[in-house]
């Protein structure tokens, strides 16, 4: 299993980590493109840093982030991003950095400390990005829907957020009104050869119609499912662009019990398109994930997913991951780490 986790030069690879809270996407596009989207930090340790430190054991491969994106300043997605940026520059790497606008200045609430902690992590990551933008303007990676950028031998497009949505959110933040940061999530489309991968971030349903207008016509092959497979984020128009041969990858979010497996819930909608869903784990805390890959049929999980809390505990990094590998001919293979779950119909 370890060998399948390792970097395989010359192939498009997508590592997805999701230990229950947090979501880290690492994409390699040959020959030298390395994209990191968001982060996770179980126990306070940045897994993005762990990933690149692990890969640095093979220095000849020059594995280093070339692009880092905080897809939206929300809850778990920012964990470990600050540490990754700090690590990159301390190693002499200067990736291009992108982020959506800042949240309004917050206060530390006694009532909902978990949200305060998450907001603190998001703001720290945004400050770190802002610092490098000012200090080294070449690191600035402007985030505009429709914008295209070269990533290794591939192409990457920002599908969202629309400028009008950003302006509206900024205005609401300035007025101290609630802002739905998921609407600002930056969904991406990656094209490498004939392979098209959609990284859905946490974009919710009402953001997808505009995002899809920016998506080139034609079949899509891989989806990093939006917003942890929540029902509201599964756009029928988006799902209609995939064939049953496509692959869907998803991270759980324990706090909100996502994805859900009952009829008409997110997992069910996804499994109506593809025969199986590749989950990095179940919606449990990190220490309740299993130390091996598992496979379940959706109906088994539908009643109460908490019945499947593992008592053997996770192995520690790397766990709670799935990896997609695409060779030059477009052939796709998957690897599953400890804690991951394949959910079938």
């Amino acid at each position: 299993m370890k060998a399948r986790f390792e970097h395989q030069p010359g192939r498009l690879q997508l590592w997805l980590f999701g230990p229950g809270t947090g979501e880290l996407v690492v994409v390699h596009v040959p020959p030298a493109g390395w994209l990191v989207v968001d982060g996770c930090a179980p126990g306070g340790e940045s897994w993005a840093v762990r990933f690149f430190e692990h890969m640095a054991a093979r220095p000849a491969l020059r594995i280093r982030p070339t692009h880092v994106l905080l897809s939206h300043p929300h809850l778990d997605h920012a964990a470990g991003v600050t540490e990754l940026i700090d690590w990159c520059f301390s190693q002499g790497h200067a990736p291009r950095l992108a982020a959506v606008p800042r949240p309004s200045t917050r206060r530390v609430s006694r009532d909902d400390l978990a949200k305060s902690v998450a907001a603190g992590q998001a703001l720290a990551a945004l400050n770190a990005i802002g610092r490098w933008w000012k200090r080294r303007p070449t690191t600035k990676w402007p985030l505009r829907a429709g914008r295209e950028v070269r990533l290794g031998g591939g192409r990457l497009w920002f599908l969202s957020p629309e400028q009008a949505v950003v302006h509206n959110a900024e205005k609401r933040a300035r007025q101290h009104k609630p802002v739905s940061w998921n609407e600002l999530a930056s969904a991406l489309l990656l094209r490498w050869g004939r392979t098209r991968v959609v990284l859905g971030s946490d974009l919710t349903d009402n953001g997808w119609p505009a995002a899809l207008k920016r998506t080139p016509k034609g079949e899509l092959q891989v989806l990093k499912v939006a917003h942890h497979g929540s029902r509201g984020a599964q756009s029928p128009q988006l799902l209609a662009r995939f064939q049953p041969t496509a692959q869907f990858m998803c991270t759980p979010f324990a706090r909100e019990d996502l994805p859900r497996f009952a009829d008409a819930e997110g997992a069910h909608l996804l499994l109506q398109v593809v025969p199986q869903l590749h989950l990095t784990g179940l919606p449990h805390a990190h220490d309740q994930q299993a130390n091996r890959p598992r496979r379940f049929a959706r109906p088994a999980l539908a009643a109460d997913v908490d019945d499947f809390i593992a008592d053997d505990g996770p192995r520690g990094f790397p766990d709670s991951w799935v990896k997609l590998c695409v060779d030059a001919n477009g052939r796709r293979t998957f690897a599953h780490g400890p804690g991951s779950v394949i959910v079938t119909r």
Binding site: T21, A41, A254, D306
Partner: protein, 665 residues
């Protein structure tokens, strides 16, 4: 009119000590006891032959050291005419100028009478540039090798010092003598009958007591019973006096005048005040010396600390005083009175600085350090505007403050104070982080033992996500500020450990916050206002990062399983079982709780779902995310207890300034 304190005894002792050959006399006593009066009288009754003494008053303003040195130097022009040029030379630092003045003092053996607070030792890392200037000035005079008489509230501890304490019971009778109290003689007489109880009162406190006792519905007995001292007497007096607000503001404006106020100027400054207010001022609140009026320093300090004037009122008053000082400066210049010209020029600069006059930056000042004062004033005004939400105007002033510090640094690149505040203002503006970092580093290099440079640099590093650099800078800060592992003054832990931990917790770095907080010695922790709160928050954040946050920070760890906490003590015996939880997610279909249970191996955490129907049955349909709940099982069935939403925030751990999102895109 108010009498000068009766200080004959102290004056006599001082003269006697000097006649006996003492070269250093420390005159000490409580606030308002008459120490300044001793020095004033001593100038007139100097017992020694040789050059007459010079009186130097060191005030409490930021430029007190500079103006003190200027005042001292101006009185030495008669001995060394070149001193004027040296003092005005902007390429010389305060320290260089002090050396030159001390040299003249020593060479000419000019006695000096210093009216100043005694420099404190033991908290070097907390000293500002201004307090260091005061300290260095006093130290320089003491080391000049000439005769020095120093008046201060605590005795001077130095080898060979003669100490004279200014306390006397006799002043009660002198101050309260009814003949001195036009119209209030009866009240003063009644108080005099209790002279024995009033022995520890300073002359100023006695005067305030007379005025207060004369107010309707008050009386002597009530004043005596209250035991009120200076600040309480003033507070109560201003509550009682019918025109107190106007009087307070007038007094505060007069307190901004640092030189003795001539009769003519006094009339000008009190123009428009009614006769009753003027009478109260003259009879109780001011005192006269050599035909000039003075506000007692104790009252001036109250006016400053309690902001009797709003910032706008103070700015206007300073503007007026700057204009008056400028006229006097021009007159002295016209009369070729170099000493007077220097003193009034310093006063003009002082008042223009305090008025927030940014045009000063275009002028050549006397001391290069005056640009620092100017920067500080502009910076403070800028911060006040930013806090009021006037971002554009506030930022404009911070940029002017940056210009002021840059100007200071063009003359003296080793000005650590200017360097530090240049860094801090650039930081507050969210300017180029490379510049901010470089200036903080240079400020630390210039003065490694200044706590604020380290504290602000560390917070800048956390704010901009430089966590590796933070660790290295933390080790360096400890090496410089706590070379023996512990601080003498707990304030160092407030300024360094608590402030840094607060920023770390704001940015959700509990592990680093714990590293910092654990560095505070256990014995010092109870002395720090924020320590317990910060430590609790660090623990809760660590739990939140592990998805184990159930109990609120207000429940101490050792008490967690002695619940249920949301039930009154008398109802607890009826509880069969209970478990705590926190609402992790709330939706239309119900809530998801993070729950905990106590096991032999420690707490175990799980998830529990409560459907909308269950919540309705438990009468808890409107639970919000983040709410701490306890489910208790009793005879009548289960009950869900919820911690009421407090809407409460950790005010003490939320940085207000600079804005924590200043570097965000």
């Amino acid at each position: 009119m108010l009498n000068l304190p009766p200080v004959d005894k102290a004056l006599g002792e001082t003269r006697k000590a000097l006649e006996a050959g003492a070269t250093l006399v420390s005159v000490f006593g409580p606030q308002g006891a008459g120490k300044s009066t001793v020095l004033t009288r001593l100038v007139q009754q100097w017992p020694l032959k040789g050059p007459p003494p010079i009186l130097v008053r060191i005030a409490n303003d930021d430029d007190a050291g500079l103006c003190g040195l200027g005042g001292l130097a101006s009185q030495l022009f008669a001995y060394d005419a070149a001193l004027d040029g040296a003092i005005r030379n902007l390429s010389l630092s305060f320290a260089d100028k002090l050396d030159k003045v001390v040299e003249v003092l020593g060479a000419r053996q000019v006695p000096v009478l210093v009216d100043a607070p005694v420099p404190q030792s033991g908290d070097e890392v907390l000293q500002t540039a201004f307090s260091l200037q005061n300290r260095d000035l006093v130290q320089g005079i003491l080391d000049a090798g000439t005769t020095v008489v120093c008046a201060s509230s605590t005795p001077l501890n130095r080898k060979g010092v003669e100490q004279v304490q200014v306390v006397s019971a006799s002043h009660v009778e002198s101050v309260l003598a009814p003949a001195h109290w036009n119209g209030l003689g009866a009240v003063a007489g009644q108080l005099m009958a209790h002279a024995g109880e009033l022995e520890t009162y300073s002359p100023l406190e006695l005067r305030l007591a007379v005025l207060l006792a004369s107010q309707p519905g008050f009386g002597v007995q009530r004043v005596l019973r209250s035991g009120w001292r200076l600040d309480e007497l003033l507070d109560e007096l201003f509550r009682r006096l019918p025109t107190s607000e106007a009087l307070k503001k007038l007094l505060a404006r007069l307190a901004l005048v640092r030189a003795p106020i001539s009769e003519g100027r006094f009339r000008e400054l009190t123009k428009g005040a009614d006769s009753k207010t003027k009478k109260t001022l003259e009879q109780v609140l001011l005192y006269q010396e050599d035909g000039c009026w003075l506000v007692h320093e104790a009252i001036a300090a109250e006016a400053r600390q309690k902001s009797w004037l709003s910032r706008d009122e103070a700015r206007q008053a300073h503007r007026q005083l700057a204009e008056q000082s400028r006229v006097l400066f021009k007159a002295a210049t016209g009369e070729k009175d170099l000493a007077g010209a220097l003193r009034w020029e310093l006063e003009t600069i002082h008042h223009r600085t305090e008025a927030g006059d940014a045009t000063l930056l275009k002028d050549l000042l006397v001391f290069v350090e005056q640009y620092d004062n100017c920067g500080r004033r502009l910076g403070l005004d800028g911060v006040a505007l930013l806090k009021r939400g006037q971002a554009k105007e506030g930022r404009a002033l911070l940029k002017l403050a940056v210009s002021a510090y840059r100007r200071a640094l063009t003359y003296n690149e080793h000005d650590w104070y200017a360097r530090h505040y240049l860094a801090f203002n650039l930081d507050a503006l969210g300017e180029d982080p490379g510049d901010v970092e470089q200036e903080y580093r240079r400020a630390i290099d210039e003065r490694p033992v200044f706590v604020w440079s380290h504290s602000r640099y560390l917070r800048f590093l956390v704010t901009t996500g430089q966590l590796k650099a933070f660790r290295a800078a933390w080790v360096e800060a400890r090496r410089h500020l706590l070379p023996f592992g512990q601080a003498d003054n707990p304030k160092v832990y407030e300024e360094l450990h608590c402030d840094v931990a607060m920023t770390l917790l704001y940015f959700a770095q509990p592990a680093l916050a714990r590293l910092v907080l654990d560095d505070v010695p256990e014995g010092a922790r109870s002395m720090l206002r924020r320590y317990r709160l910060l430590a609790q928050l660090a623990l809760s954040q660590e739990e939140a990062l592990r998805d184990e946050l159930v109990f609120p920070p207000s429940v101490p760890v050792g008490d967690r399983w002695n619940g249920p906490h949301l039930l009154p003590n008398d109802q607890r015996p009826k509880v069969k079982r209970w478990w705590p939880g926190r609402v992790a997610f709330a939706g239309a279909e119900g809530v998801r709780l993070r729950s905990a249970r106590q096991t032999k191996g420690g707490p175990q955490y799980g998830w529990k779902k409560l459907s909308a129907q269950t919540l309705a049955n438990l009468k808890a349909a409107d639970l919000r995310e983040g709410t701490f709940v306890e489910v208790v099982e009793e005879e009548g069935g289960p009950r869900l207890l919820r911690h009421p939403p407090t809407g409460d925030y950790f005010e003490d751990v939320t940085p207000r300034f600079p804005a924590p999102d200043r570097f965000a895109p």
